[in-house]
């Protein structure tokens, strides 16, 4: 018989070992899935997990994909630590993109250095506002933030459609539902010439900003009273109140922070790789970032690593789509499995697994 025995203290080894184990288990289960789909499992796993690292162009793309995931996941991780479940980062990402794009288009043709910062501010403000709706409704009316933030994803998606079909539509675009291409000073500069990057890299300034935010978030979490209060709130809400934390302010801060970062990620996407506002802009980063946050153990440094791993599955998945004719949806299954394995293996952190029967009267 197998049984679970609680550990006195969570195991540090397992804390960082289980994400690795989960990735390995996902590779194995994914291999089986690919075999069922009639693909060579070894080749598929190689294409997804190894090829992108070996190829310099794919390597650059890894950073481009990882940046929004890391940004959003860092924001979400604060809320998840406090037990505040913002599931609507995708919506905050979308409104961030819309607001940023609107500012960029409003100043269309203006060659100004302040335009990008202004767009970034607009994106963050819009994301924050969108996240403040569930925060306010939770604090004031006790409404479940999971459901409200999620409903707002669908609302944001429709808002995007309305915008590209209406106010933000390209006037010279034959009624096509998309905005015009941004002019140069509304597009994030590329980091060409940075050591390690290729000549045709798409790595942009936003990637650098995401990288800079990682250590800042770590300091906030570990060294600042705000990070401490957030952790206490999630670990023991009554103890948090006793220590002087106001639950409502934590709700506002966590949702506001994750909204701002998701909005910023949306702006980076629209002013970076996309270069214009299109209905197909949201690609589920807001949802994938949830997996990234957990895979990175809700720790900014871990999230950076997890974001790169998850970006790998995106880039590798695209390659596999082209090379092996692997269905696009297989990658979503892959990501879902990863989260399952991670959550399942989590038990090793707090419990020891014991084999053998319990003692019975002899």
């Amino acid at each position: 018989m197998i049984r679970l025995e609680p550990r006195l203290a969570p195991s540090r080894t397992m804390m960082w070992g289980t994400p690795v184990l989960a990735v390995i288990a996902t590779m194995i289960a994914g291999g089986i899935l690919f075999a069922i789909l009639g693909k060579n499992p070894v080749e598929a796993i190689w294409t997804i997990f190894v090829d992108p690292i070996l190829d310099p162009y794919s390597r650059d793309e890894l950073f481009v994909k990882a940046a929004p995931l890391v940004l959003i996941a860092i924001g979400l991780s604060f809320g998840f630590r406090a037990g505040i479940w913002n599931i609507g980062a995708e919506g905050q990402f979308i409104v961030g993109a819309i607001a940023g794009a609107a500012v960029g288009l409003a100043f269309y043709g203006t060659p100004a250095i302040w335009l990008l910062p202004l767009m970034a501010l607009a994106g963050m403000a819009a994301g924050t506002f969108w996240a403040m709706i569930p925060a306010f409704l939770k604090v004031r009316y006790n409404a479940n933030e999971i459901l409200v933030s999620l409903m707002l994803v669908y609302v944001a998606d429709q808002l995007l459609r309305a915008m590209v079909a209406g106010p933000l539509r390209n006037p010279a675009g034959f009624n096509f539902p998309e905005s015009r291409l941004f002019h140069d000073s509304a597009v994030l500069p590329l980091l060409q010439g940075m050591p390690g990057l290729t000549q045709y890299t798409r790595v942009h300034l936003g990637v650098l900003i995401a990288l800079i935010l990682v250590p800042l978030a770590w300091v906030l979490l570990r060294k600042h009273v705000l990070g401490f209060n957030i952790q206490v709130m999630g670990s023991a809400p009554r103890a948090a109140r006793f220590s002087g934390v106001r639950p409502s302010s934590i709700v506002y801060i966590c949702l506001g922070l994750s909204g701002a970062l998701a909005g910023l990620a949306g702006l980076f996407e629209v002013a970076g790789p996309a270069g214009q506002l299109v209905p197909a802009l949201p690609q589920g980063y807001g949802f994938t970032a949830i997996i990234v946050a957990f895979l990175g153990r809700l720790n900014p440094l871990g999230i950076l690593a997890a974001g790169l791993v998850m970006a790998l599955t995106y880039i590798g998945g695209e390659n596999a789509q082209l090379d092996l004719n692997l269905p696009r949806a297989a990658i979503s299954v892959f990501q879902g499995m990863l989260l399952f394995f991670l959550l399942g293996l989590d038990i090793l952190v707090r419990y020891r697994i014991r084999f053998g029967a319990r003692g019975i009267a002899q």
Partner: protein, 376 residues
């Protein structure tokens, strides 16, 4: 008046009313049926003290599996049965993770949704654009042909009646049977239930599987009857709305039907307004006027001062809307804004229901979402 709304002027009130009752009402009930099924299942799960946020994932799995089986076998019944099994199976992954491996229920429910959406897309790839075999309707010639009433009451397929019967059965089970009492007790205080010798984990796993089966059937109803065809991501948040309906219903089975019909109504109205290209200002004014009337009726009983202020405010808003509609009779809104209404309604309803903390605390199962581990 018809002009302002955007309906042709020669439309008589009688035609409009009979259209409402014999066409709109039945489509609304059909639109509500997936929600009735999924919410009832989730209600049982939550009554046992488990929060499964994976309804969306289980529904879309039911949708794709039910569709595939119905198309391949040619019998919709087989589709529904296998969809229920698939939903239950997927739910049991959640059950295993949360009940045996003690994982966080919120995170695991999310994982279930992400996984289900991906797997369904993968399975359904070659099935887009196909029409499924038709699900049999309850057809009693004597009554089904009766004008209006026949359409209103007897024009549906068997699942609609099954769903309503299921709600009744769940109500009876929870309130009038011993296993139902045990299930409620487990959801109320799992430690006490364990101390009395009840198998908390087994009972919860059974509830989770039931919830999954219901969600699976609800999903199959989407792809086999409501739409009917298969497309990726076709659940479009219905699973999440089902979760909101459980809150709206204050964990009472009968109210699930009201909640589901409300959302079905909003969805269908919204689609019809989009299709008919009506003046949204006029529609908004009419809806506001209706709400005002309901609030007046409500206020005649409670007679609160604040209530009358609200009535006055809403009434003024309705009049303003009508005035605006008269000023701009050609006002038309992008259909995307109308597509937001079911989601916005969900938020409004959640807020209205959750505001009363005392009542919410009394009805919600006290152990909801808490991890149980028998430490003896």
């Amino acid at each position: 008046m018809m002009d302002v709304i955007g309906l042709s002027a020669d439309l008589s009130l009688v035609t409009a009313l009979s259209y409402l009752l014999s066409v709109l009402l039945p489509t609304m009930i059909i639109a509500a049926t997936p929600l009735v099924l999924a919410s009832t299942g989730e209600l049982v799960v939550e009554k046992s003290g488990v929060l499964n946020l994976g309804v969306e994932g289980m529904m879309i799995m039911g949708a794709v599996v039910g569709f595939i089986v119905a198309v391949e076998s040619g019998t919709p019944v087989a589709g529904f049965v296998v969809a229920a099994l698939a939903g239950a199976l997927l739910a049991l992954i959640f059950g295993f993770l949360t009940q045996v491996l003690l994982s966080n229920q919120v995170a695991t429910g999310l994982a279930l949704t992400l996984f289900g959406l991906g797997l369904a897309a993968l399975m359904g790839q070659t099935y887009t654009g196909i029409r499924p075999p038709q699900t049999t309707r309850l057809d009693i010639p004597e009554v089904s042909n009766f004008p209006i009433l026949g359409d209103m009451l007897f024009s549906y397929d068997w699942i609609v009646y099954f769903a309503l019967a299921l709600v009744g059965a769940v109500w009876w089970f929870l309130n009038h049977t011993r296993p139902g009492l045990v299930l409620r007790a487990v959801g109320e205080n799992h430690d006490a239930a364990h101390a009395l010798g009840y198998r908390v984990i087994t009972i919860r796993l059974a509830a989770i599987a039931f919830g999954g089966a219901c969600a699976g059937m609800g999903g199959a109803y989407l792809s086999l009857v409501r739409v009917p065809n298969w497309s990726e991501g076709m659940t479009a948040g219905i699973g999440w709305i089902a979760l909101a309906i459980v809150v709206f219903a204050s964990w009472k089975p009968g109210r699930v039907i009201i909640g589901a019909w409300l959302f079905g109504g909003v969805t269908i109205l919204q689609i019809n307004i989009q299709a008919a290209n009506l003046n949204i200002l006029a529609i908004a004014a009419i809806v506001l006027a209706l709400v005002t009337v309901v609030m007046i009726a409500f206020n005649l009983r409670t007679k609160s001062r604040q209530g009358w202020i609200r009535v006055a405010f809403l009434g003024a808003l309705a009049l303003l809307g009508w005035a605006m509609a008269l000023t701009w009779p050609d006002f038309r809104l992008d259909s995307a804004y109308l597509s937001m209404t079911p989601y916005l309604t969900t938020i409004v309803v959640l807020v209205a229901i959750s505001g009363d903390r005392t009542r919410a605390a009394l009805n919600a199962p006290a152990s909801l979402g808490r991890v149980f581990h028998a430490s003896n």
